[in-house]
């Protein structure tokens, strides 16, 4: 799995961090998403797909 984020689309909700804190974080200054792990392990695939699906800014893409 390859994860990409679009920081221009990110609204700073932090939904992804709540779901997958090992994969996503937010910048302290403006809350924009920071990708910690662009190739997360298989045990995280389901939750990362969920994070991409529910991201309110549509800023996360996942390719297999």
């Amino acid at each position: 799995m390859k994860v990409t984020v679009d920081q221009d689309k990110c609204c700073g909700a932090g939904t992804c961090v709540l779901l997958a804190p090992d994969v996503f974080d937010q910048r302290d200054e403006d809350g924009i998403v920071v990708l910690l792990d662009e190739t997360p392990g298989e045990e995280l695939h389901d939750i990362v797909r969920e994070a991409a699906s529910v991201c309110p800014g549509v800023a996360i893409s996942v390719s297999s």
């Binding site: 932090g14 910048r27 403006d30 809350g31 797909r49 969920e50 529910v54």
Partner: protein, 395 residues
Amino acid sequence: MNPPDGVLVVGASAAGLTAAEALRRKGYEGRLTILGAEPHLPYDRPPLSKQVLGGAWLPERAQLRASDALSSLDASFVLGDPAVGLDVAERSVRTASGQVLAAEAVVVATGLRPRTLPGQDGLAGVHVLRSLDDALALRKDLLSCSRVVVVGDGVLGAEIAATARSMGLTVTMAGPQEAPLAYQFGPLPARLLAELHASNGVSLALGAGVTGLSAKDGRVTGVRLATGEVLPADVVVVAFGAAPVTEWLSGSGLLCDNGVVCDSRCRAAEGIYAAGDVARWHHETLDVLLRLENRTNATEQALAVAGNVLGADKPYTPVPYFWTDQFDVKIHVHGTLFADADVAIVDGDPADRRFVATYSRGGVVTGVLGWNMPKQARLRRQEVFGASVLVGGKS
């Protein structure tokens, strides 16, 4: 429980699409149909009042998914064909073009329709902003006018005012509150918002109700206030609330009262569920019937509904969340704010235009507001009452 023989999702926006995606992710392999009233592929609404209206994004950038992601859903999209009736017993939906679509489970995600002022229909120069077509029509008019009045002092009205002002227009915001979002945010953030808009050149005509529009030769010329004053305008945007789209359900037997009334599982009747702006469900933790008009609820509730369609039988108990971007300010709200709450600044400083405030009632924190501090506000989300119950999406 066996998976349903066919799922029909009525609504092709954030809630509808997320429900469909979540069904597939949770292993549903059956027939899946997504019915949309608009002709467009699923797109996102929050950018409409900001990036799309202001021209920073072409409309395509607001699409919710790329076309390959949509095809991999293996769903039938029936677009540009509004639902006009539901047969609860048969679980079938009739469309404007005369199609009848049936499925064992139906998800209602038909969203909202903007409220309008009397005499607004058919008047040139008056706009609402709900759909992509609305946004593009408004943008076209804004590009060739100089004075715009935004009727609405809530989130949408304030965002439109900020965008129009950033496009160089002369902008007036009208509405009954003393300051933008005062009923929701309480005095301090509302005053800061008023200062933000004023310092960016938006004229505030607040604290007086709007009674109607003035017009000449079929074109709007101004907005009439309860004080008798008329605010002159080339273009008027009416953004003072919206109503759930449930007319098509009248006579179906479903209870519709400020939304489709659902149980704690977001179920309106056997095999019939609702998600997003249109759904008014029983929030078990708060023990109220709740309807949330925000982007995050659309996806989280859709996720909960997808689980329940497949037999999860779990209540949906989210901590509400929304954000708004106006000029250079990003406001994030977790939980529920009450205008009369005890407000405490717990991080940053309003004087620096960067702070986090908690809102409490009777010593219980009901909400957190972050002003240009999104991460710090989110980190306090767990202090909100009910936050220990995980959001519907988490399992």
